[in-house]
């Protein structure tokens, strides 16, 4: 019996050995185990035999069939691997060609710096507040202790519009008054107000529209020390621990005393260069204790509460963070320039 099986095996193995592709193997399969294959037909003939012979013949044939199937499948699998390799080789691509980048845009650097600032102050418990860009002269000037003849109206040359008693706000400081009014005497008032502001200036470091963030805290017992602490916490969060700062007395009509804050020049690291006019410092913000008249105009009693306020130029800070020495490209929107900010991470939030 096993002789017959091995004989079948030998013939089959010889046939398979000469088969060069899977089509040839399929032909062999048809010859042996197809519907009309030799083993299949022999199995069909079994019914004509007596039971005893049928049983033994049946075992032999089934074993032969199994063996044939195994040999054929083995061969098919072996050929399949070769053919797959040939097929995939045909699909070869030039893997040195650059892939296509996903299409994603980018926020404008000014938006990113503004959000960074908002985030820092939100974490310190400040709420966001807003005011109109076309502002009344009362909110923009008088309420902030800048009367008609005040020299400070010369300092910030304003754009006037063809609506009586209205200007394009020259700073975000009017939101100090609006913020106090909105708080209706409640304490503390703790707001920051980002927004666009306008001045009649146009050169490398001034643009007729720019962005500021105003900060205001009004509460019982607010001190100049609190102002220093808050601003230091902000600069550390924004520019890192290694940044050096200094405070200088300054002048704003709506704060008294007034203080300006400088940070180490990013361009030269404090050694002195053109950007910092050789001083090693760049000014980043103006601030001070809220002037008593301003507190009164906001509906608070300067004898009972005090406050501090600060105003920070977002462009200035963006220039400091990104190391720019010209403000104008920020408004030209040359996509090539904007792409330059693509890889910039700097601080994690950016």
């Amino acid at each position: 019996m096993s002789d017959q099986i091995s004989e079948v095996g030998q013939i089959l193995a010889q046939q398979l050995a000469t088969a060069e592709d899977s089509a040839a193997v399929q032909e062999i399969r048809t010859e042996w185990v197809g519907r009309r294959g030799r083993i299949t037909l022999a199995l069909k003939e079994l019914g004509k035999l007596d039971p005893e012979t049928r049983r033994t013949q049946g075992q032999i044939l089934n074993a032969a069939r199994e063996q044939a199937m195994r040999l054929i499948n083995q061969k098919l699998e072996q050929l399949g691997r070769v053919e797959e390799d040939i097929q995939l080789e045909r699909e070869r691509l030039d893997m040195t060609i650059r892939g296509q980048a996903p299409r994603v845009g980018l926020l404008h650097p000014l938006t990113r710096v503004r959000r960074l600032l908002e985030d820092v102050f939100l974490r310190m418990g400040f709420s966001l507040a807003y005011g109109p860009e076309i502002e009344t002269t009362w909110y923009n000037f008088e309420a902030l202790n800048i009367p008609e003849d005040h020299p400070a109206r010369d300092m910030q040359d304003s754009f006037f519009v063809d609506v009586p008693h209205m200007v394009l706000r020259t700073h975000t400081s009017p939101v100090q008054i609006r913020g106090m009014e909105a708080a209706q005497g409640k304490l503390p008032v703790k707001i920051i107000a980002p927004g666009r502001v306008y001045r009649r200036d146009d050169d490398a470091t001034h643009t007729p529209m720019f962005h500021q963030i105003e900060g205001l805290v009004v509460d019982r017992g607010i001190t100049l020390g609190d102002l220093k602490g808050t601003l230091l916490a902000m600069t550390t969060a924004l520019l890192g621990d290694s940044i050096e700062t200094r405070f200088r007395p300054s002048y704003f009509p709506f704060t008294e005393p007034s203080v300006e804050m400088d940070v180490t020049c990013a361009a030269c690291g404090g050694k002195g260069c053109r950007t910092c006019k050789g001083t090693g410092w760049v000014e980043i913000l103006g601030s001070g204790l809220v002037h008593p008249s301003v507190l009164k105009n906001g509906g608070y009693d300067p004898q009972k509460v005090s406050g501090f306020a600060f105003g920070l130029g977002i462009e200035r800070l963006a220039m400091r963070i990104f190391g720019l020495d010209d403000m104008r490209p920020l408004y030209q929107n040359d996509v090539e320039f904007l792409t330059g900010f693509e890889r910039y991470t700097g601080r994690p939030i950016l």
């Binding site: 299409r103 709420s127 807003y130 009649r200 220093k228």
Partner: protein, 780 residues
């Protein structure tokens, strides 16, 4: 303001070096924007003695002069000067010398004779002198000395930035010296004693005491005043003030030294008495600078019997001006109300150094000191000086007193400084403290209240001395504005979708318009624009974003996709309104690249809008009923409406003819006119996916003419089969048989595995309904 280190040293005992000066001033709030050395070029200029003088053989007006230099050598120089003869000592600039006017001297051939450098006149050195063409030296310096020795050596000149409050009292050398004395514990040298004014009351009538509380006038007779001494000329030159004539030099010197502007009239031209009064309507004054001014009663004038002779505190008139031959002088030293001078200066658009001082506020107490300083200087100049009649009219205003509130100062600054420390700081700045009251110095018009005293104490003791603290207040979390947060989300989504945010300025002019847009409100105009093309505020954002496209396309041939979310402005019933808009623009050209990109055309921007709409629940829908602006491609654009069916914008392609203006063939644009906060889109619980398999069916639907996909989608929605999970368009065909759209339908049940016959049944029902709209299944 420029200030000289040497000049400062005249007021201070133990003058510190320039770096300490700079640090101290910074602590006081005075920024030094530049520090320059003065006089370096004067080291080349040498005193020589003339040995011989011969006429030039080839030129009548030139002479050949032999000079002996300090090292004993002789040089031969050609000069055109009339003076300078053997024995005279003159200033010689050898080749290589840089003169104040910027010339660098060389050896030049003058009519055939080489002349190395030149012999100098006073004006060539920037100085004033009357000895003739060449500046003859009569002093004690030996030949070979350099000119720098004659003017007292080099100097350091500081350029100071004064804030308006400091300009009230710091616009003078003595002002800055006082600041330094306060912060560095230095001793000030005493000033001149007050001038002993006479009682010549017939000289002056003051008719406007409010505007002029104090007026001093003193007469001097002067003769043989030739030029100011070198030291004074050098100090004036170092800060950039021209030297002209001793009388003018003295008034300039005192202006900058003491901060008190003086004015000198030629007494022979004044018809006394002088009146200090408000101008009469229509009065005219021909000023020293040659301009003719029409005056009004808001102007304060100094007048004589014939009319105004000076616009008080600002500038004198020509009629009574002094000249080189003036021998009888009236010197005015006055105190004017600063606001009036400032307003006059503004009204006449007119500035002078005097006005910049009077307009900020001067020190009434320094007025007689300035008069005495004038006299002392005049007497030191080597001419003949006789003191004439004088008078001072008016009185010094009372000194302001503020109650000393040390506790309030401490609590505002956040410090624990003792009363003694606070008082000492104030005293160092010349405040008097007595019995709980602070008396403010006569020049400190800026100090009105305790907050101002806080600033003074902090300046003297230094802001660094104030401890760093944080506000102690209830820990309330910060909040954001929902409207703004919504705009921020919109920005993020548009960036995610591949659009770059831009920031443009809202200035606009209709002359820039390429698109014609209807605006509901009235345009707001700037009354003082920087330039004509920025004369109004934008009423639409899209033109700005398109200009960004144009700016970029003009520079490089690359696709560009940009957006901005920003306000536009308009007037409604005279009131300004600011409305947030969104504008997106994207070029549609295929950009040559490999691998090939998939060109979706307008459908990319449309898809972005639909995605953002879904994500943020903008509730914007397209409407074929509403018109789109004429500048849009009529076949490729659609109006957008909000949930109340109000038109709020449009989406589509710009007419290609207009896209060309922005250097592009085709531009897709999206304009949303107003962005309101939409209610949160997320509702209830997010459903988990069904456990049962999906069944897909692709239906190729034959559609009638003029039917669009929107109709089909609406019909499917309206007759939505029970188990239809989603459907989407996957192909569009057109042939002789008409047009067909293939829609892939995804069926899925949440309860069971759907059988083919169940799905077939639901599709059959749907097809029945579609058939009523002449939408039929396409037979293969």
């Amino acid at each position: 303001m420029k200030i000289s280190h040497r000049w400062l040293a005249r007021h201070l005992v133990n003058m510190p070096g320039p770096q300490r000066v700079a640090d101290a001033l910074l602590q006081m709030g005075i920024e030094i924007s530049a520090m320059q050395s003065w006089g370096d070029s004067y080291t080349c200029v040498e005193l020589v003695e003339i040995r011989a003088r011969e006429p030039h053989p080839n030129a009548d007006h030139l002479s050949v002069v032999t000079v002996r230099r300090g090292d004993g050598t002789e040089s031969i120089v050609v000069t055109g000067a009339d003076n300078g003869f053997p024995g005279d000592r003159v200033w010689y600039a050898p080749p290589g010398t840089l003169l104040p006017d910027g010339r660098v001297l060389q050896t030049v051939l003058m009519r055939g004779i080489p002349s190395p450098g030149m012999l100098l006149s006073a004006s060539e050195l920037g100085f004033h002198d009357t000895t003739g063409d060449l500046w003859l030296y009569h002093g004690d310096l030996a030949p070979g000395s350099v000119f720098l020795d004659a003017v007292g050596g080099t100097d350091t000149v500081y350029e100071l930035e004064l804030t308006p409050n400091l300009a009230v009292f710091d616009q003078s050398v003595v002002g800055i010296a006082r600041e330094l004395a306060a912060v560095l514990h230095l001793t000030l040298r005493p000033l001149a004693p007050p001038y002993k004014y006479g009682d010549a009351t017939d000289l002056v009538r003051v008719q406007a005491f409010d505007a002029c509380p104090l007026y001093g006038l003193s007469a001097f007779d002067v003769r043989d005043l030739t030029s100011s001494p070198l030291w004074l000329q050098a100090l004036l030159l170092s800060i950039g003030v021209r030297v002209i004539h001793p009388l003018v030099d003295i008034t300039n010197f005192i202006l900058w030294d003491l901060g008190q502007p003086l004015h000198a009239f030629d007494r022979d031209k004044v018809v006394l008495p002088i009146a200090v009064r408000l101008a009469k309507p229509g009065e005219q004054l021909l000023m020293l600078d040659g301009t003719d001014r029409s005056l009004s009663p808001e102007d304060l004038v100094i007048a004589d019997q014939e009319g105004p002779i000076a616009l008080a505190g600002i500038m004198g008139g020509q009629r009574t001006a002094i000249g080189p031959s003036t021998e009888h002088v009236l010197v005015e030293s006055a105190h004017f109300e600063s606001g009036r001078i400032f307003r006059s200066m503004r009204r006449h658009h007119f500035m002078s150094d005097a006005a910049l001082h009077f307009g900020k506020g001067t020190d009434p107490a320094i007025l007689p000191v300035a008069a005495q300083a004038t006299r002392e200087l005049l007497e030191s100049f080597g001419g003949q000086v006789a003191i004439g009649p004088s008078v001072m009219v008016g009185s010094e205003p009372n000194l302001r007193k503020i109650r000393l509130e040390p506790e309030r100062i401490r609590s505002l600054l956040g410090v624990d400084w003792s009363v003694e420390v606070i008082e000492d700081a104030l005293k160092r700045l010349r405040f008097h403290v007595h019995d709980g009251w602070v008396t403010v110095p006569s020049n400190r018009h800026d100090v009105l209240m305790t907050e101002d005293l806080c600033e003074e104490v902090a300046r003297v003791l230094g802001l660094d001395a104030i401890p760093v603290t944080l506000p102690i207040s209830a820990a309330t979390p910060g909040t954001r504005d929902p409207r703004v947060s919504f705009e921020e989300r919109l920005r993020d989504l548009l960036c995610d979708a591949g659009y770059w945010e831009v920031v443009t300025r809202p200035f606009w002019s209709s002359a820039r318009s390429i698109l014609e847009m209807a605006v509901p409100g009235e345009t707001i105009r700037l009354t003082n624009p920087l330039r004509d093309e920025e004369e109004e505020l934008r009423t639409s954002l899209l033109p700005h974003v398109l200009e960004v496209v144009g700016y970029n396309r003009a520079r490089r041939d690359q696709p560009i996709s940009v957006f901005e979310i920003a306000p536009v402005y308009q007037k409604q019933q005279g009131k300004p309104e600011e409305i947030m808009q969104l504008a997106v623009a994207e070029t549609l050209e295929e950009y040559p690249q490999y691998p090939k990109g998939q060109d979706l055309g307008i459908y990319r921007l449309k898809g972005t809008l639909e995605w953002v709409n879904h994500r943020l629940n903008l509730r914007v829908a397209e409407s074929l009923d509403a018109a789109v602006p004429d500048f849009m491609h009529p076949g490729r654009s659609v109006a957008l409406v909000d949930h109340r069916r109000q038109v709020v914008g449009f989406l589509g392609e710009l007419r290609p003819r207009l896209a060309v203006h922005f250097h592009a063939k085709r531009i897709a644009v999206l304009s949303l006119w107003s962005i309101g906060v939409a209610p949160n889109a997320a509702t209830g619980i997010v459903p988990s996916p069904s456990r049962y398999p999906e069944v897909l069916r692709d239906l190729s639907l034959l559609i009638p003419e003029n039917t669009n996909y929107g109709t089909i989608a609406a019909q499917i929605e309206a007759n939505r089969p029970n188990d239809l999970k989603s459907f989407r368009l996957i192909d569009v065909f057109a042939g002789e048989w008409g047009r067909s759209m293939t829609v892939r339908m995804v069926f899925q049940s949440r309860e069971k595995t759907l059988t083919d016959s169940e799905v077939d049944g639901q599709i059959g029902l749907l097809l029945g309904n579609l058939a009523q709209r002449q939408i039929t299944i396409r037979e293969r």
